[in-house]
Symmetry: C2
Subunit: 346 residues, 2 copies
């Protein structure tokens, strides 16, 4: 047994818990024990942020997300822009150029049309900014009390270069971990809005499309192994997934992880670890060591990567684990969370 | 003014009504006044059951639906099989071969895992039967009381022959309207289950995939103008949409419309018009008159078209309207409904 691991409590449950939607360990268990065995096929089995499909000679990426964020409007965005960015980003981090989106609404009876119009117009702007077209949709209405205002699902299709094979199983010892900017802004902005916390005004969601930043990175020709948007479960969960899938260790440097003072303060106040907090406009990239400098430079040249930093590296030691060298020099395991520290964040 | 039209009350509302999800006039208004102007592009503007996309030399169909059916399990199916069939059918009626599906779940905290497993296994069977792969998905959980058990969204991608241009704007005077079998079974089965009505045992949902029936029809080489799966809003709404989009009249023959005795009886009892009741495994096809006989014969040869019938024709008179010659020989307008006679049917 690896000296850094320790036996973890098993969450055996007969009902769905909030944690099954948290993007952490319970989510991964549900996928592995329920969805994957039933739907089982090699495309789904990759379990990356998008599926790659070969159709009629074209190589496509396909992805979906439902959005249940509460509240619907928050500093920096709303459920509509989030629903567009989320799907655009899951395509982009696979190296795909996002092209087409679907938009399906579940609306609660009595929902104000004025709010729907605002959300739809925010989706339009987000789609324009990301150069995608919303080409199909669906609208269902349920009785008052049967859903919480509105839920949106988007699915997206993008086109991918046939030479590109980004995947969570590609990380190798020696590789470098880059992060495009400060973490935790989205999750803390939502929490502040929801709970009416006083630091609300200072913290704004980072929700943004990543397609343009990704295009710049791909254009460098650098060897990128894998990219992720660290959403639910935060940077910690994304890194854990990559470490497990590639069978490598990931070691982060706490001092190198960009974090706004306001977010650090809010996390301390609330007892939250920013590594687990959701981001909606940040990019995590694993690349070959010889290309790390110029990839980081390309990130920093892009407005959305201005705060980018090299936050860690891939190791052969501690295979399957994420560790962090703390500011004080100690090394600790950063495990996948079982429960959900911040539900309904996206 | 056409002598058959009459001024209709305008539904101006500031909030979402159940009818906005009914697949009738309020649904169409919401699409035309809110979604289409915001997302506006020529692909969405077609407003058919699926979008056609040209990507990398391939011609694809893309569609999405959310499912909020209540109850989750019913005679003949469950929300899982429905979610697969619904999206497979929206691809198939565009002439596409369905290939790949996404599956996104919104689960209520406390939902029994056993029910989730049953539903997921029913999706697996439905996907196998329709020869599609579920390749990507998403799982969100909301607090108890924030959704009604579970909602599922599926999106789907299919491939279409570049020569095929099925669309609701293709109907021409003289064309023939074919229907693959008896109507209303799905809607009445759900209603019976929900309300605990006594005729429950006799009426079973017709939920089924249409890809194989459609493949047989396309293989005849007959000139098909347009196909629809008459789901929410029933045959009446689908025919109204085609009449409006093609700028033609559609005249149905009441006596020719297949209807099971049990469904007719239930509709009479409940004061419902079967023309507006949802079907989940029926196909409506408009074809050139010279091909009608052999297309009907091909339908009837397929197990899912055994009860097929020629139910009407396209006219130049009464442009934009659906009319029906009743059993007694009178002609009446069959308008689009504003409200939703049967909510949460799919
Ligand atoms: N219900 C499901 N059915 C099939 N696959 C699923 C399901 N839920 C999740 N998955 C798959 O699990 C993997 C992880 O999904 P997840 O939703 O965590 O990724 P993500 O969309 O990038 O994150 P987020 O939803 O936080 O934006 C993906 O490969 C996804 O396709
Ligand atoms: N919220 C929306 N945004 C964009 N387009 C929408 C939206 N809702 C519906 N549409 C479009 O309106 C048209 C009709 O949609 P509708 O859902 O009634 O068709 P359907 O899926 O065939 O029917 P059903 O949902 O009953 O199975 C389609 O072209 C669809 O893409
Ligand atoms: Mg996502
Ligand atoms: Mg992602
Ligand atoms: Mg629909
Ligand atoms: Mg349809
Ligand atoms: Mg549909
Ligand atoms: Mg997801």
């Amino acid at each position: 047994m690896n000296p850094l691991t320790c036996p973890l409590p098993v969450f055996d449950t007969e009902t769905i818990l909030m944690g099954h939607g948290g993007g952490g360990r319970l989510s991964a268990d549900l996928f592995r024990n329920v969805f994957l065995p039933a739907f089982g096929n090699s495309i789904l089995g990759r379990a990356d942020d998008q599926a790659f499909l070969e159709i009629g000679g074209a190589r496509l990426a396909f992805t979906t997300d439902s959005f249940v964020v509460k509240p619907l409007f928050f500093r920096g965005g709303d459920i509509g822009s989030l629903a567009v960015h989320g799907t655009v980003n899951d395509l982009a981090v696979g190296g795909a150029t996002p092209l087409f989106l679907s938009a399906a609404f579940i609306l609660e009876e009595g929902f104000p049309l004025e709010c729907l119009r605002r959300i739809v117009s925010s989706m339009r702007e987000a789609a324009q900014r990301a150069s995608v077209q919303i080409v199909t949709g669906d609208t269902k209405v349920v009785e008052k009390g049967s859903c919480d205002g509105m839920f949106i699902n988007t699915a997206g299709i993008g086109i991918v270069d046939t030479h590109l094979h980004l995947s969570a199983d590609q990380a190798r010892p020696g590789d470098v971990v880059l992060l495009s900017g400060p973490i935790g802004d989205h999750g803390i902005a939502i929490l502040a809005e929801r709970e009416g916390l006083s630091f609300e005004a200072d913290i704004v969601s980072d929700t943004a499309p990543l397609h343009s930043l990704v295009a710049d990175l791909l254009a460098t020709g650098a060897t990128i192994r894998c990219m992720r948007d660290p959403t639910r479960g935060g940077v910690a969960s994304s890194c854990n997934e990559i470490a497990q899938t590639s069978g490598v260790g990931i070691q982060l440097e706490e001092k190198a992880i960009p974090l706004r003072e306001e977010v650090r303060g809010a996390c301390e106040l609330l007892g939250l670890d920013p590594l687990y907090i959701a981001n909606e406009g940040k990019l995590l990239a694993i690349c070959a060591p010889e290309d790390a400098e110029r990839l980081l430079a390309a990130m920093q040249r892009h407005p959305q990567g201005a705060g980018a930093s090299r936050i860690g590296s891939i190791t052969s030691a501690n295979s399957g684990l994420l560790t962090m060298r703390t500011a004080l020099g100690a090394t600790r395991i950063v495990d996948m969370l079982a429960n959900d520290p911040l539900p309904r964040i996206c």
